[in-house]
C-alpha cells in the first residue's frame, strides 16, 4: 500500500510542478514497484492534469506499470546478440518455472516479474539477464533455474 504522505512528499520534492510528472511517476514507480490506479488519479488531481492525460503518459512508457510488480524483477534480453546465443530457451525455462505466460508477467505471490527487453548493453556476456538491476551473464536454462531456487530460499 502507498501512503498519501509519501506521495505528497514526492510531489513537493519536484516543486508541485506539472511538467515534472514523469519524474514524479518515476519516483513513485521505484518506491512501490508500480503506480496504483487511485494513486495516479491523486497525483493528476494534485498537479491539475486530467487523469485521462496521466493515463496516456503512464501507458506510453514501458517502464511504468499500473499492475503490481514482483519483489524480483527479471529482465531477459532478447536483443540480436542474446537472441542468436539462445535466449529463447532461457525465457521458456523461466516462464515454465514461474508459471507465467505472455499476458501474465508477475507471479501470484508477487515474488517475480518477468520482462523481455531489447538490449541490456552487455552483449559480450550474452545471453544476459538482470535481476533487480544485477547482471547475470552467460546464462543457460539450467543455471537460471538454479538462480531462481536460490532467490526463493532467500525469502
Amino acid at each position: 500500500m502507498y501512503s498519501i504522505n509519501e506521495i505528497d512528499e514526492i510531489i513537493s520534492s519536484h516543486g508541485n510542478d506539472q511538467s515534472s510528472i514523469i519524474a514524479i511517476l518515476h519516483d513513485v514507480q521505484s518506491k512501490y514497484n508500480y503506480i496504483p490506479e487511485d494513486c495516479l488519479e491523486y497525483i493528476s488531481n494534485k498537479l491539475d492534469i486530467s487523469p485521462t492525460k496521466a493515463f496516456g503518459i503512464v501507458t506510453f512508457y514501458e517502464n511504468f506499470s499500473l499492475e503490481p510488480k514482483g519483489r524480483y524483477i527479471i529482465k531477459i534480453c532478447d536483443g540480436t546478440a542474446c537472441h542468436v546465443r539462445k535466449s529463447t530457451p532461457i525465457l521458456e525455462a523461466l516462464k515454465k518455472e514461474l508459471k507465467l505466460t505472455d499476458g501474465k508477467k508477475t507471479t501470484d505471490d508477487l515474488m517475480f516479474t518477468l520482462e523481455t527487453v531489447s538490449c541490456l548493453g552487455a552483449c559480450g556476456l550474452a545471453p544476459v539477464i538482470t535481476i533487480n538491476d544485477k547482471v547475470y551473464g552467460k546464462m543457460t536454462p539450467e543455471h537460471v533455474v538454479e538462480l531462481l531456487n536460490s532467490l526463493k530460499e532467500e525469502k
Binding site: 490506479e37 488519479e41 486530467s50 487523469p51 485521462t52 493515463f55 506510453f60 499500473l66
Partner: protein
C-alpha cells in the same frame, strides 16, 4: 506572412494561411485529410495531405509553413502511390464491414477509398477486435472503426475542456480510450457528442434509439406526441441534399405524422415557457441580490460539466428545467385527463439536435412517479434515418403546421437553437416589461454571432445589467474562472456547450464547419424576423397556459433537487 507559391505549376498567392494545406485548398485542390481541422490544434498524424517539393522531398502540408517561392506538387505518380499506400495501411487495420456500419454513406474513410480508387487491400487484416462501448446514453464508441486520427481527443480536450478521451499505449498497441480503460459512462464525459460530430468514421456514433421509436408508434395503447427543437429544422434538410440553413419544419411535421405521431408541437413553445420562468427567477434574484450571476440551464452538457467541475455554482445555475423537460412535463400534465378518458398512455418524443438530451431525459429528477417527462429523445440524424427507413420522399412532402393548443411560439423561442439566443430571448422579455430600455438592436448584435465570449449591457430600473454569452465548454470554463476571481462580473451568463450553440449539436448532420454553423444560425434568425409574435410573453398560448393548466403549479417548470 505574404508571398507566392507554385502549386502544380500554377502561381498561388498566400497571405494569412496557417499552413501549406490551406494554400493548396485555396488554389482549388482538395487535398484529403482525416486529422486536420482548422479549429483544432495541428496533429499531422494521418499523412493523407502529403505533397512533394521540387527537390523530391515529401512532407505533410498541414504541418508546414508556406514560404515565398516554394514549389510543390500535389499529384505526382510518386505522391499518389504513397498516399494510396497510407490509406491501404489504414484499411488493413480497420473493420471494413461497411454494410452494417451506421456511418456508411457519410464516412470519410469510405469517401477517400472511393476517391483514391482503392480496389484492393493487399495486406491481411491485422485489426485486433475491441469491445464496443455501449455504456453511454448519448454515444456508442466502436474502437474497431477507429483510425487514430485523434480528432475526438482534441475536440474533447481543446474545445470542450473535458478530456474524457486520450491516446493510450503506443506503437501497434496504441488506442483511444477513457482513463484506465473505463467505459464512457464511468468517466467525466458530458454527453455533448462533439466527438461524434467530428469523427470521420463510424468509431463514435449516436446511440440509436430508432427501434424504440417504431415500437412506440406501433403500440395501439400509446398516444405518441412529439416536440421538435428549433435547430432541427435548419439542419435536417442537409441529409436530403438541401443547403444548410434551409428551413424544413413543415415537411418534418408531415413526416412525423406519416410515421404515426398523433400531434406535433414546437419545443420553441417550451423555450417561451423557459423565458418566462427564467426572467421571473432573474428578477427575483436581482431584487434580493443573491446567487448572481444567473447561469442558464437549457444546455444539459453544460449542466453536467458544471456539476463535475464547478460544484460551487449549484445555486447560480437557473433552477428552470430545460425547454425540452419543461415542455415534456407540461404535455404529460395536459394529457392526463384525456389518458383517463380514453385509456391510452401518452408518450412524449422529442426531436433534438443534441446527444446530451438523451441523457438529460433519463435523469432521476425528470421522472415523476416512475413516468418520464420525455420518453424518447431522437436526434436530427436519427430522424433522417427514420424518414429514409419509412421510405418517405422528403422533398415531396407537403408542409404541415404545428398542432394546437401549443402550436404558436414566438420568434424569441426559435433562436434558442443558436448561441446568444437564450440571452436575446430573456432580454426581449425583460425589456418589454420595462419599456424604458432602448438601443435594443445594438444589444442584440452584441449577443449574436460566433465570437467566443459575447457581452452586452442594458439598464433595468436604473440598474446596469451585464450579460455574457459563451459557447464551447473550454471557453465557459475560462469565463467561470474569471468570474470566480472577480476579474469579470455579470448578472446573466448564457452557456451552450457546443460551438455556435445547438445548431452544431452532437446529433446534427455531419461534417460541420464554421460556414455551415453560420448558415444554420441565419436560418433560425430568418424565422425570428418573420415571426409574428416577437416576445415570449406576447404568446397568447403561454398566457392561457399560465392562467389555466399552470395556474397553481409553477413548480413543474423548475428542477426539484433533493438537497441533503
Amino acid at each position: 506572412m505574404k508571398g507566392t507559391m507554385i502549386i502544380d505549376g500554377r502561381k498561388v498567392e498566400f497571405e494569412n494561411e496557417q499552413n501549406v494545406l490551406e494554400v493548396v485548398r485555396k488554389a482549388g485542390i482538395d487535398l484529403p485529410t482525416f486529422c486536420y481541422h482548422s479549429e483544432l490544434s495541428m496533429y499531422g498524424a494521418c499523412r493523407m495531405c502529403i505533397v512533394e517539393d521540387n527537390k523530391g522531398g515529401i512532407f505533410a502540408s498541414c504541418s508546414t509553413l508556406p514560404k515565398d517561392g516554394m514549389e510543390i506538387f500535389t499529384n505526382t505518380p510518386r505522391i499518389k502511390k504513397y498516399r494510396k499506400n497510407i490509406l491501404e495501411l489504414l484499411l488493413a487495420n480497420h473493420d471494413r464491414d461497411c454494410t452494417t456500419c451506421v456511418k456508411t454513406g457519410n464516412c470519410k474513410l469510405q469517401e477517400l477509398s472511393s476517391r483514391l480508387c482503392m480496389d484492393d487491400v493487399r495486406f491481411p487484416n491485422s485489426m485486433k477486435e475491441h469491445d464496443i462501448d455501449y455504456s453511454s446514453l448519448a454515444i456508442v464508441r466502436n474502437p474497431n472503426k477507429c483510425i487514430l486520427c485523434g480528432d475526438c481527443v482534441r475536440m474533447c480536450e481543446e474545445v470542450q475542456g473535458v478530456g474524457a478521451l486520450t491516446f493510450a499505449y503506443r506503437g501497434s498497441k496504441m488506442k483511444i480510450t477513457p482513463a484506465f480503460n473505463r467505459t464512457i459512462s464511468e468517466v467525466n464525459c458530458v454527453d455533448c457528442g462533439q466527438c461524434r460530430a467530428i469523427c470521420p468514421t463510424g468509431a463514435i456514433t449516436i446511440k440509436n434509439q430508432n427501434d424504440y421509436f417504431w415500437e412506440l408508434v406501433n403500440d395501439k395503447t400509446k398516444r405518441v406526441v412529439a416536440q421538435i427543437a428549433p435547430a432541427v429544422r435548419v439542419a435536417l434538410g442537409e441529409n436530403f441534399g438541401l443547403a444548410p440553413g434551409t428551413v424544413t419544419i413543415g415537411k418534418i411535421i408531415t413526416a412525423l405524422k406519416y410515421m404515426g405521431v398523433e400531434s406535433v408541437f414546437d419545443t420553441s413553445f417550451g423555450a417561451d415557457l423557459t423565458v418566462m420562468a427564467e426572467s421571473e427567477e432573474f428578477l427575483e434574484r436581482l431584487e434580493k441580490n443573491e446567487n448572481l450571476p444567473l447561469f442558464t440551464s437549457c444546455c444539459p452538457a453544460w449542466v453536467k460539466y458544471a456539476d463535475n467541475n464547478f460544484p460551487d455554482l449549484e445555486y447560480n445555475i437557473s433552477s428552470c428545467k430545460s425547454p425540452q423537460q419543461m415542455f415534456g412535463s407540461v404535455l404529460k400534465k395536459y394529457y392526463k385527463e384525456l389518458d383517463k378518458e380514453d385509456g391510452k398512455e401518452t408518450v412524449v418524443i422529442s426531436v433534438i439536435p443534441c446527444t446530451a438530451k438523451k441523457a438529460e431525459a433519463s435523469k432521476e429528477e425528470f421522472i415523476t412517479d416512475g413516468v418520464r417527462d420525455v420518453d424518447l429523445v431522437i436526434t436530427t440524424q436519427e430522424l433522417a434515418m427514420l424518414i429514409k427507413d419509412a421510405g418517405l420522399m422528403f422533398e415531396n412532402l407537403y408542409d404541415d403546421s404545428f398542432d394546437m393548443p401549443f402550436g404558436l411560439s414566438s420568434g424569441a423561442g426559435v433562436i434558442f437553437g443558436s448561441s446568444g439566443g437564450v440571452a436575446e430571448a430573456v432580454l426581449t422579455r425583460l425589456m418589454k416589461q420595462k419599456p424604458s430600455v432602448s438601443d435594443k438592436e445594438i444589444i442584440f448584435n452584441n449577443v449574436r454571432g460566433m465570437k467566443r465570449v459575447k457581452e452586452a449591457n442594458f439598464v433595468l430600473d436604473g440598474k446596469e445589467v451585464k450579460i455574457a454569452v459563451v459557447h464551447g465548454l473550454k471557453n465557459a470554463s475560462e469565463l467561470v474562472k474569471q468570474i470566480q476571481n472577480v476579474e469579470k462580473t455579470y448578472d446573466i451568463v448564457e452557456v451552450m456547450a457546443c460551438p455556435g450553440g445547438c445548431i452544431a449539436g452532437g446529433g446534427q448532420p455531419t461534417p460541420m464547419d464554421e460556414e455551415k454553423r453560420k448558415k444554420r444560425a441565419s436560418g433560425l434568425y430568418s424565422l425570428n424576423r418573420t415571426a409574428q409574435i416577437k416576445s415570449s410573453e406576447e404568446n397568447p398560448l403561454i398566457r392561457d397556459l399560465f392562467q389555466g393548466l399552470l395556474k397553481d403549479d409553477h413548480e413543474i417548470l423548475h428542477v426539484q433537487k433533493n438537497h441533503n
